[in-house]
Symmetry: C2
Subunit: 398 residues, 2 copies
């Protein structure tokens, strides 16, 4: 009998308890032993809850319980979540987490403690919610040099951009609808400014390139300035707009950034709509593979956390290394990265061609034009824009 | 130092040797020990080949070599591949394979031998080529009851259907083009009749439902009778046509079949074009996730086989169970499965409505009409068709 604890009983925590109980028999068969929930750390009781008898309010009861060998941290944030994760690992327990902020900030340190204690630190649910992503990236693509990882890593912003694209809503309308549906929080900053996607990009970059990146150093641009005119013009140019987390191997090292990208309609990512997430991995042997599914939500995220609990339960005496890389990974400058760009401007065709001779401007209902540039780097682009009345510019994917 | 052998030096075998050599350093770091190719079983020598010094023509040299602990079988077929896989497992070596025919036919027996010998039998490359699929299905979705698996599992037929859809080619033109490009074999039977997809469907169904299915019992219909008129009418009905392997949990047990399906254009599978493969898994906790990528080819398939070699090398003293299920799995009858259907017929609107009152027939350039029916099972559908001059009928996905 293997016993585990859950730290936190919010949306994900209650989902983990539910999913592990539902699939008790299958899980016992996979692990070769029963896996049982013993304790749930809560701030206050939940009278009448089916798991009420397992709730404790004192973490040290879990920390000091020799029967508990696996701890699922689903508290969120980097305060108590960090402290308890560290203490659980130091107590010789494996820890699994869906907390992207914690993994992006302190994951390498926690993984190093896990290594020293010969236990596991797993965090499949921290990127892509329920989508199997980190384990396939590390295990199934182990024989590849990973050259690029990019994806739609935040469901809130993808919902908003999809609504703007398909229903012609402007940003504030689409945000309000997302809030009404529970897809966006009352304070949507972390989502719409790309902060959530940035944390996930840092984790992906760490795993893909084996150097631990400082998430706060990743250039991050959100979606708040995108207008319905941008989506209209993008579509006229056979593209749509998606917020991508993007990490790419360059001659100068690993480059990572989060920003809106124009995606050709022929690319599968363009068809990923609503709150769904998808991530593309380009490897030296496999080429491009994509993983798609629900990037958030109670049961999808619980599915990923539960898979980590099962994995940790199966590997009690065997370490699975989810290597977040050596500290001190330095990002290659994004400025050097060459791509095509989309520009929206208030300009006549002649004015556009005077600056971008090959551009073919298309005019939308707002009277503004949109066009795609030849490949160039960001400083070169931005040096040209003042000559036009340019209102927006976004990178074009490949 | 962990040493492995490759059985067979065709397209995949040479890819495995190449990929394992390219990523030697990364692999050593992942495994924690060097992983070295010692022998390649060939029928004849390859003078001048970079791996010529490792080639042997006598399997017993590998079988009896105590240094070799992992064997990659990429011979294909169920003759020598079966015999050598069995002998390697009985000699206490882990075996990995991309041979779907062998895994579908004798995989459960080989897995049982592996279990007895406490070694691993892994076959990630047997379904979906380079796409990480089987490991995510078994590991990352371990906390799910899998309810349905369906996908585009054969690149040749997807290339042909894409060409028919986007270029209006008929089947024989598209097949010829696929043969010219090397996407189809001179004898294309196994691909176009759905036999290859059937083997992969059997493996997916085994893993998803935990009962070992007889691939030869899976109803299998290929794409040879699909006309360009079908694709034209499907598109007018906002669908496209894809050959799907499909396994679904029903009240009567697991039902599996391979046949052309109409896919709504809004479904991500509709956008999977050319030789690419994709597979959707529906789980009780996660909902729908999709895995996409190259389903065949030298380096993609080698990527999957190499991942299995790495996994087997990492788990020398630890069995990873890829459970193909208990023998004697009985398929639930496909006949009972209710879905909507597409029908192509030479009929006037009144004639169609006399048989399918709710149908809205659409007429294509051939003069034939296409329409979608209400949900009903196959026998009920087929009982209605003789009243119309019906030329084709295909299941509609969901």
């Amino acid at each position: 009998m293997i016993k585990f604890a859950i730290l936190g009983y919010g949306v994900v925590g209650s989902g983990v308890a539910e999913v592990m109980a539902e699939q008790r028999e299958k899980i016992a068969s996979v692990v070769g032993d029963a896996v049982e929930l013993k304790s749930i750390l809560v701030r206050h009781g939940y009278p009448g809850d089916p798991f009420a008898d397992k709730m404790v309010t004192d973490f040290s009861l879990i920390e000091n319980d020799p029967e508990i060998s696996v701890v699922a941290e689903v508290i969120g944030g980097v305060g108590a979540a960090y402290e308890y994760s560290k203490r659980a690992l130091l107590a010789g327990k494996s820890v699994v987490s869906s907390n992207k902020e914690l993994v992006a900030t302190h994951g390498a340190e926690l993984n190093e403690i896990a290594r020293r204690k010969n236990v596991n630190y797993l965090f499949e649910g921290s990127v892509g919610g329920g989508i199997p992503l980190l384990r396939p990236l590390c295990q199934c693509l182990a024989a590849n040099r990973v050259d690029e990882v990019f994806g739609i890593l935040n469901g809130t912003t993808n919902y908003i951009l999809t609504a703007m694209d398909t229903e012609g809503q402007d940003f504030s309308e689409a945000l309000q609808k997302a809030q009404e549906l529970g897809y966006a929080e009352a304070d949507p900053t972390a989502d719409v400014e790309g902060i959530d996607a940035c944390r996930k990009t840092a984790i992906l970059a760490d795993l893909a390139f084996g150097r631990n990146m400082d998430a706060s150093a990743i250039p991050t641009r959100g979606i708040t300035k995108i207008t319905s005119a941008d989506l209209e013009l993008a579509r006229a140019l056979d593209h749509t707009i998606k917020l991508l987390g993007h990490a790419i191997r360059t001659e100068d090292g690993c480059c990572a950034f989060v920003e809106p990208h124009l995606i050709p309609l022929s690319h599968l990512l363009a068809s990923v709509s609503g709150v769904m997430n998808a991530c593309v991995v380009r490897g030296s042997a496999v080429g491009e593979v994509m993983f798609y599914g629900p990037g958030a939500g109670k049961r999808p995220t619980a599915s990923a956390v539960a898979a980590d609990i099962i994995d940790a339960a199966q590997h009690q005496a065997y370490r699975k290394d989810t290597d977040l890389g050596a500290p001190g990974g330095v990002l290659a400058p994004e400025a050097a990265l060459i791509s095509r760009w989309y520009v929206r401007a208030e300009a006549e065709p002649d004015e556009v061609r005077a600056v971008f001779p090959e551009a073919v401007p298309i005019y939308g209902s707002s009277g503004e034009c949109g066009f795609l540039t030849e490949p160039l780097d960001r400083p070169a682009l931005e040096a040209k824009l003042p000559a036009l009345d340019a209102r927006a510019h976004y990178r074009v994917l490949h």
